[in-house]
């Protein structure tokens, strides 16, 4: 076992050795090392987060035909540090009538709920926090904590806009959690496990994005809704309720929300990479070839993973800066009347075909899976088209639930 093959265990063993040589009880040493590991992971995530601020600002600038930060440091790379300094030195306001404790816990909880996700995020085959056998549910559970954080913030601010924003956010998140949970079962069925790492490994042959493109699409939509990003950003809709649940937050407390959101988006990009693009692995078996074995080095894998996650993050940003906000009733109708049934269809399709086609040669299996998804997608679009035609005929403004989906696609 060398550092290059298994860095985490290498360091862990080394530190355990050091601590026990200091006559520290083994149990205490274990706990201490857990804490150290958690801290290291948080620091890594947060550092990445700082980078994300820069990425976000740069990308949005390009989308809006601007240059973005370019004054501080090369390409404006130091800009995030300046941002942090600005936030920290701003006045920290707690509004009158606010529920102080809850008000202060909320931003921490919001950021925590995101960082919790990193515990199961495998950066490489040997670099990961924990390989839970219920990893997928864990993601949902962490999302639940995020919901709680937002409702706490909204409630404790003692502000009508904040409360409205919180209500919207919660209805949004709880609704879109359902298609997300359903669609997460598709990788589960395909990989036969709920472990995140297991799903990654199961895609060494073929990405699930190819086996089930519709699942990818639904996951992307519900992830964006879960993040509360545009076009599902009505929880903080600046033009109506100013800033929604974090209207009263200033300084670094706002910063936590902001950082949490960015990191959350990136993390979901990472999960998209894991569930559908093979995560740190997934080179269609090429890594087994002699001259490509360097792809299996953990640090290379981590770089690959971050690249894939960044792609997912970029897609989410792309959507955010291209699509306008939609009305809340449209959003809920789209979820309940379209996304949930569609995801159920996709799930049933996957479950049945996976059993039926598993005996076939693998190229037929892949073709069958992909073809069935395309077929379902085509039928769905035809149904939506017919529905839209009917709406237009009825002389009303077409309330097509397909709009956001088509734009996303």
């Amino acid at each position: 076992m060398t550092f290059w093959n298994n860095p985490i265990n290498f360091i862990g063993n080394w530190l355990t050795g050091v601590l026990t040589s200091w006559h520290m009880p083994a149990a205490l040493a274990t706990i201490l090392l857990y804490i150290v590991g958690i801290v290291v992971m948080i620091i890594f995530a947060m550092t990445l987060d700082i980078g994300l601020v820069w990425v976000e600002r740069k990308v949005v600038a390009r989308f809006q035909d601007r240059l973005g930060p370019n004054r501080i440091g090369p390409f404006g790379l130091i800009q995030p540090v300046a941002d942090i300094i600005k936030m920290v030195i701003k006045e920290d306001i707690t509004p009158a009538g606010a529920d102080k404790i809850v008000y202060n816990i909320a931003p921490v909880l919001a950021a925590t709920s995101v960082i919790l996700l990193w515990a199961i995020l495998p950066l490489a085959s040997t670099i990961y926090g924990v390989d839970l056998n219920v990893g997928l549910l864990y993601i949902v559970a962490a999302g639940a904590l995020g919901t709680l954080a937002i409702i706490m913030a909204g409630w404790s601010s003692n502000n009508k806009y904040a409360l409205l924003g919180a209500f919207r956010m919660v209805s949004n998140m709880i609704s879109y959690e359902i298609p997300m949970v359903i669609i997460l079962l598709v990788p589960t069925i395909l990989a036969n496990t709920m472990s995140v790492k297991g799903i990654t490994q199961a895609q060494s042959g073929m990405w699930f994005a190819i086996l089930s493109p519709l699942a990818l699409l639904i996951f992307l939509i519900s992830a964006i809704a879960e993040l509360g990003r545009s076009p599902f950003d009505l929880n903080e809709a600046e033009s109506e309720i100013v800033a929604g649940f974090h209207i009263e937050y200033t300084g670094m407390k706002f910063g936590w929300f902001y950082a949490g959101e960015l990191l959350h988006a990136f993390t979901f990009g990472g999960f998209m990479a894991i569930f559908f693009f093979g995560g740190y692995g997934g080179f269609f078996g090429l890594e087994k070839l002699g001259f490509l074995t360097w792809l299996n080095i953990p640090f290379v894998q981590a770089l690959v993973f971050i690249a894939k996650a960044m792609f997912g993050y970029w897609v989410i940003m792309w959507v955010k800066y291209s699509v306008p906000r939609i009305r809340i009733d449209h959003m809920l109708a789209f979820n309940w009347k379209f996304l949930v049934p569609l995801s159920l269809v996709v799930l049933v399709n996957t479950a049945v075909l996976n059993k039926v086609l598993i005996t076939l040669p693998s190229w037929l299996y892949v073709l069958g899976m992909f073809g069935s998804n395309i077929l379902i997608g085509w039928v769905t679009i035809e149904i939506l088209r017919a529905y839209g035609r009917k709406q237009r005929k009825a002389g009303e403004k077409p309330i097509s639930p397909a709009q956001p989906q088509e734009q996303v696609a």
């Binding site: 056998n133 219920v134 949902v140 559970a141 904590l145 919901t147 709680l148 409630w155 709880i174 709920m194």
Partner: protein, 170 residues
């Protein structure tokens, strides 16, 4: 005292302390949040018991759904939230006494049964609890019937809740 025992005790204090706060604090929203803390502690207990699935589901259902529902309900009825008045009945000592009596009875019962102070044996090697639970829930010679009944109950509750809470259009 092993690390595990320490963690258990800390979690136990969290669970019981939060539970106590749930039943005593005046602000109902705080009570709901304390409930979240208590139930989170229970999830940790499940994790210690190596019931990973239940631990995660506990968080998803109780914190992600039930607690949120409570907070919603509290917010929707807050005009009547008697934050200033008494939240407990005047004769609160009767339930307290009753609870204490029952606690004493239960504890003495638990302590009097032999063999309950056992410690757990190691988990059987190769047992995937999630898979085993899933199989048990849908296999006909195990719990598929209760499972299906529970799902029908959920459906009935869904429809019933929507119907009861919906506003009359009249």
């Amino acid at each position: 005292m092993t690390a595990e025992q320490i963690i258990f005790l800390l979690t136990g204090v969290l669970v019981l302390g939060s539970a106590f706060m749930v039943v005593t604090v005046r602000n109902l929203l705080h009570a709901a949040l304390w409930l979240v803390a208590s139930l989170f502690g229970v999830a940790v207990l499940y994790a210690i018991l190596q019931a990973n699935f239940l631990a995660v589901v506990q968080v998803v259902i109780y914190i992600g759904a039930i607690a949120i529902l409570f907070i919603f309900a509290v917010m929707l009825t807050r005009r009547q939230l008697l934050e200033s008045g008494r939240q407990t009945r005047s004769s609160w000592w009767i339930p307290a006494l009753l609870g204490l009596l029952i606690l004493i009875g239960l504890v003495s019962l638990i302590l009097s049964v032999p063999g309950l102070d056992r410690t757990a044996s190691a988990m059987p090697v190769g047992l995937d609890t999630v898979q085993a639970l899933g199989t048990a829930l849908v296999s006909p010679d195990a719990y598929v019937l209760p499972f299906e009944v529970a799902s029908v109950l959920m459906l009935a509750a869904l429809v019933g809740a929507v119907y009861v809470a919906s506003v009359d259009k009249k």
